[in-house]
Point group: C2
Chain length 254, copies 2
DNA sequence: CGATATCTTGAGGAATCTCAATACTAGTGG
DNA sequence: CCACTAGTATTGAGATTCCTCAAGATATCG
């Protein structure tokens, strides 16, 4: 369902470092570096960070961390998409976010993961042992400031999503979701009247994110399609043909 | 409908400071100090903070800040309860949190408020000009660390609430809410089989917090009362008679 | 090209919402 | 001190949205 990650062989930006690398670090050819929290670090600081990092790869569907587990590592997404979610004892699930390249997973100075995480597509991450990372955090205020900034962004996003879950209709939720996805990955032109979106996640995952059932998501997409507001090239590749209409719906005015 | 704040005249803990106070600061007899973010500061740091603070009072129902307004001040609750919420153009509201004594409102280094805030009861706050506060934040890593900690707590709380809004039934939402309220203000005994709760907010506000209507909240409370799981002394004073049952319901097992 | 998983569509049912009436509470004035 | 008023909460009945269960369509992969 999702497009496999393209082989980024030749075009990987080669960071030519001035000093001999201690031992080849996964950071050396990290494509997420410019997006990620580590982009605030000075060269020397970055060296320290890359000295404690190790790369991880997860297959689609694989569990990355589990709610309540000891938070041995803090993780950073270098490629792919993963979902973070909370679950009720009877299996009901609420996805509280999708993470992409450059996004951070885990809370410094917190001993247990508060959410579970699972790979939506094949995922590559870099892992920092929490203790070492906490130590660096103490030394580098820039780093802490950056993570603080990320945390406040998350709070804002979470509140947006609370409004969606608590007060929006199915139609409004789906429209909001599509717009968010279009914004996240500006494939093609910017704020035109039209935009393409490719959804890496399955319908079930959209449903679990929007607090709906898979059927309602499907029906709502079909309805939007019949109204020519969106078009489905395939189940996961779609075109937002009338962004204006979608925006109105998402805001509750449609 | 809420009980007016009791006159805390004589019993205010008098902080005897070693050095002559510059000019009497609202912090001098602040009852929220031990609860608040400022409890991490050294004496000297605290002096600097109290030099830029000013006290504010709001009547019940009064608007404190509005979504989108320039964030001139960061605020800290010293007494009372307020709600923070986001709204849709057509008036639908989602309350994303209630703040009490010691809670912080506003995001450092952010120029506009992301949510609106309104006094649920009479509210007293202390206000820090954002620019001055940001400057202190740069100087005192402890302070920044503390606010970071608060932000991560908020993220966790927000995710909990997303699970509630997206996946819990009305009954489960109300049960969860009552338990949270009981935990917040441990009036009486700790983890006994019974607990009293006084709700400072109106039914509408509970509904807007839980993503329900006022009628559903009312009906659900009545149902719980008929099952002898709770008892209502008055509309806003109630007793959780069977905490165990309530916990089962809240978790989705009831 | 067939098997399996995912997605879409349909029909009926349940939870919650909407609209409306009644009951309660607190504050006001006689 | 009691009745009145206004605001708030509760209860009821019907409508609606979304969910559940079930079948059919489409896509993916060997």
């Amino acid at each position: 369902m999702s497009k496999a990650d393209p082989p980024r062989s030749a075009e990987a930006p080669l960071l030519t470092r001035k000093f001999p690398v201690r031992h080849a670090s996964p950071c050396d050819d990290c494509t997420a570096r410019t997006l990620s929290f580590c982009n605030v670090l000075e060269d020397q600081e970055f060296e320290r960070l890359s000295a404690i990092v190790s790369a991880r790869a997860f297959e689609m569907g694989q569990t990355i961390v589990q709610e309540g587990d000891e938070a041995e590592y803090l993780l950073n997404v270098t490629s792919g998409t993963l979902k973070i979610f909370r679950a009720l004892p009877d299996g009901r699930i609420q996805i509280v976010g999708f993470l992409n390249e450059g996004d951070f997973l885990g809370v410094p100075a917190t001993s247990a993961y508060a959410v579970s995480a699972e790979a939506v597509t094949p995922v590559e991450m870099c892992a920092f042992p929490r203790r070492s990372f906490d130590r660096l955090l103490n030394e580098y205020p820039t780093l802490e400031r950056r993570l603080f900034e990320l945390a406040t962004n998350e709070v804002a996003a979470a509140r947006d999503h609370m409004l969606l879950l608590g007060r929006k209709t199915a139609r409004e939720r789906v429209a909001s979701f599509l717009l968010t996805m279009a914004q996240k990955r500006p494939c093609g032109h910017g704020a035109g009247a039209e935009s393409r979106v490719s959804l890496p996640m399955a319908r079930t995952e959209i449903a679990d994110y929007l607090g709906l059932t898979i059927e309602t998501v499907s029906r709502t997409l079909s309805a939007l399609r019949k109204e020519n507001i969106i078009a489905l090239e395939s189940a996961n590749e779609l075109v937002l043909s009338r962004l204006d209409a979608l925006r109105l719906i998402a805001a509750g005015d449609g």
